[in-house]
Symmetry: C3
Subunit: 274 residues, 3 copies
């Protein structure tokens, strides 16, 4: 399930990102750290040209507006036409009517390979539930060992009806294509103390999917493991040196750019359920 | 005057930011480091929805344009309607007609809890003076012990006529609601050697105000002290290790995220004048 | 050729940047580290006002759109009118019709002091060649000692016909005004492993040009040397400490902000060809 790591190191997928301006620099650097090449372009007049030279498309609605939503739709359709993987990050869906309508429009017009969000976002996306947590998970939604079975059943249903891989992130990340489900327990709580780890993860998923579009589920799981492991290494170092979130942010990129296959094989905490 | 610190640690105010794209990542991370939760959203179609789930609104005109100014007005009005604190950072006002008109429109249509700028910006805001320093203070405006009394009288007048807390930042930060004035001497010159410390401060003020909207003056003073202290710690470490502004930027976030009540009580340099 | 360094330290040129939102924070901090003052503003209604208080203009088309292209043209014309140096970074030209048309329009309507790109971008700019590398150089274009003479002749021709200084970056940076050519061999491969080093370089060129508009070629060469040296120092430290690209990014700013004339004189790898 984590066999995509070495494949990525052999090519350098160009990943087209239409993403928010808050964490875009970390997204670009994280794609580079993971082994891809980032390209950010959101003008309506050029997104189709840019998709055409790319290996994958990452759409993140973090700071969407009327202009960029149109670009997302155009880019997504073009990527579908060309058979490229498209990853959706419905950041903060449920927090505003605009986000709900934009995500609804994207889902109706574009076929996604992977949709990734926290569990509140996934619920808001499919049930139109209000999401008062903004871009964060709501307390009552948090996935625990206690509600894991129920949550998994819900996510498998979503994956089946939407015909794509669904990722719900949290202390336990759940990845499912509706048949096979992976539970990833890598990561560290410190990752939620900086902005952008979710966006970075989304773009790393797109990078892996762009590296091998025939292995979407495997690439997604690998992305979750390497990102989670990078978080663990960075948190360990930050705590050992008595530093805070500024240093953690740098160490997270360090850990991703220095990741080895040995670290991955030793550290992966993945459980598969067929 | 710095009693707001522990209150903030007990809740996690969601702060809605309409801010510039230059320092937005540092703003988000600084809100997290201070103990809040950041949310960035500037689309006209959604700012009212986002304000409705937030505890405070931070408006920063750093890279304003016609579209975002409209969003600022809408968001500000909605925040007023809901009784949320609104903080204005009139970055670079006086440097262009657009900035002057935007700030004028904001002041006319929105009631602000706090307006924070360097002294050149505060002057430009109320006198329509030209500000050739761009986003930096002009040399002739710099607050010193020599002109402190005169500057304070001016700022008290502004606070009284605008009915809000006015903050003029500099080596000596002056905070006044028109009656009570606080002089804060925390901070380090190195803070002006990176971009964004002013924006980060503005968002931390909004975070404290969002944590306790009944104590706007106290929250603002506390924000100035914690931000200044974080700057002092970060500068000390940077100089001790012989590093430069890249490391300083990370250490500033470290220091904020690791700040303790003991550091605050020991390090606060605040003088109150009733 | 690198005599511009101390001049810059004596003034603090205000540099107006219309640049992409991906690396804009690093650009602002790098201008500060180099000794300038950054100002970012892209609203059509204000760019002329902002140019009027600035010493140089940096235009980077990284995340252009219809609105910002118009601002670039307006700002460029105003800078020309005022006799300010204007630096163009045609990021990713050749990758989309929009970029080609925008760059063509800029070249037709604005007189540039310096145009800087990787060799694929320079070729795409003058020949309308397709650039499938996105924002990166294409493998077949890479400048080596083998094709250096031919590439130099091509670039001199471009500089002569465009009447400006042309910079083609790579392992060997080539700078020419059509008569005098400088080859700069400073820098480190690690600089291409983070996003934005090209943008930062472009803005540092603008900073040097803004510091002394009579010495555009010298300022450009000095910018290339200090940026390259900063990259070498940062890469050395990163490797020595076993860190990765997150730390490298911070060290790059550290090295620039701590640069001394002694380091520059000792480390400059510049060859001049008249």
């Amino acid at each position: 399930m984590i066999t995509s790591f070495e494949g990525l190191k052999k090519n350098t997928p160009l990943v087209h990102n239409i993403t928010n301006y808050v964490t875009v620099n970390d997204v670009a650097n994280m794609i580079l750290a993971a082994g891809g090449a980032p390209l950010m372009a959101d003008a309506i007049e050029e997104v189709e040209d840019i998709v055409s030279i790319s290996s994958a498309l990452y759409i993140n609605v973090g700071t969407l507006n009327a202009r960029t939503v149109e670009s997302m739709v155009l880019a997504g359709k073009k990527a579908n036409e060309l058979g490229l993987p498209v990853v959706l990050d419905p950041v903060g869906v449920g927090a505003s009517k605009l986000r709900n309508e934009a995500v609804e429009k994207l889902i109706e017009t574009v076929t996604f390979s992977v949709i990734k969000g926290n569990i509140s976002e996934i619920k808001a996306m499919v049930t139109n539930a209000k999401n008062a947590g903004g871009v964060d998970v709501q307390a009552e939604d948090i996935v625990t060992d206690g509600n894991l079975e129920e949550t998994t059943a819900f996510l498998k249903g979503v994956a089946q009806s939407m015909k794509c891989v669904i990722v719900a992130t949290g202390a336990i990340d759940i990845v499912t294509d509706g048949q096979t489900t992976a539970f990833v327990r890598n990561g560290d709580a410190m990752m939620s103390r900086i902005t952008g780890t979710g966006c970075m993860l989304g773009s790393v998923i797109a990078t892996y999917c762009g590296s091998d579009k025939e292995r979407i589920l495997e690439g997604t799981v690998t992305a979750l493991v390497v990102m989670g492991l990078a978080g663990q290494y960075a948190a360990d170092k930050t705590e050992r040196l008595g530093e805070g979130i500024g240093s953690f942010r740098a160490y997270l990129l360090d850990a991703m750019s220095d990741m080895s296959i040995e670290q991955l094989e030793e550290g992966a905490l993945v459980e598969i359920q067929e």
